[in-house]
Symmetry: C2
């Protein structure tokens, strides 16, 4: 049983509303390494509505954002020569997020997110994410992740 | 007492998790015309955390998104020669959203969103949104809004 990337974040930085294991009121999203990609599954709740029948775009943006940060963490571990799970995962934050809503996303089933890193160095990573419902890609995101600045660490 | 733009959306399309008056579990965000701008105030709840002490970026993206749709609706009404509130407000949906997170957004106080339309025609509107905390702009968004397609109308 592999660990979710978010379950490897340090205890002090695992409160994210989207994906923090210490945020019981949050979405508790989990992302897993799958070869060269990172994959997550998430089923919106009925209240996560945009117009009746469709998923709220703000939730879609949120899921893309958190999933991209996990993808950046996995890539940083791999670049450091570690397999994800061998140590705590590094915490990234979002510098910029863009999302294209290609089609309305139907509500009622599971969404699948797939991400990969398109560029990275020590200072940032660029991640592309697709979100699909019923095997149809309905949104794509491009996200710039940067390592959590020391100013955000309130240990 | 002016009406919030979202309170003028048709009853059948007022369920948005971010700003729908018929979604009791949602954020119930409200946007108001203020001269050439549209303004909203929102106080995140404690669980809307990214890292401890800071607002979740997914919430910021969500607020920018809903606020931009309201701004597009107000601009469409104005272009049609009506003051907002004189009729039901037209419903727009998001084609694309980009957000730059300029600084960490501190949690605990009220956020202020200000938006204006930078370009519009019958087919789309482009909206720029700033989000500030304690009078400091911490995020900016650019959003493309399009009129709700008929395929999303499940009246």
């Amino acid at each position: 049983m592999r660990a979710a990337i978010q379950d490897l974040y340090p205890d002090d930085f695992a409160h994210c509303f989207g994906c923090g294991r210490h945020n019981a009121r949050g979405h508790l999203m989990k992302s897993f390494v799958d070869g060269d990609e990172v994959v997550a599954h998430f089923t919106p709740r009925p209240e996560h509505t945009a117009l009746p029948g469709f998923v709220y775009g703000g939730l879609i943006a949120s899921l893309i954002d958190c999933h991209a940060m996990a993808t950046a963490a996995a890539a940083a571990e791999r670049a450091a020569g570690r397999e994800i799970g061998a140590a705590e995962a590094p915490r990234f934050v979002t510098a910029a997020l863009d999302v294209s809503f290609l089609k309305p996303t139907p509500i009622g089933g599971e969404l699948v997110l797939r991400a990969h890193v398109t560029d990275r160095n020590e200072r940032k990573a660029v991640i592309t994410v697709s979100l699909s419902a019923n095997d149809v890609v309905t949104a794509r995101g491009n996200v710039i992740a940067v390592p959590m600045p020391a100013s955000m660490a309130r240990r």
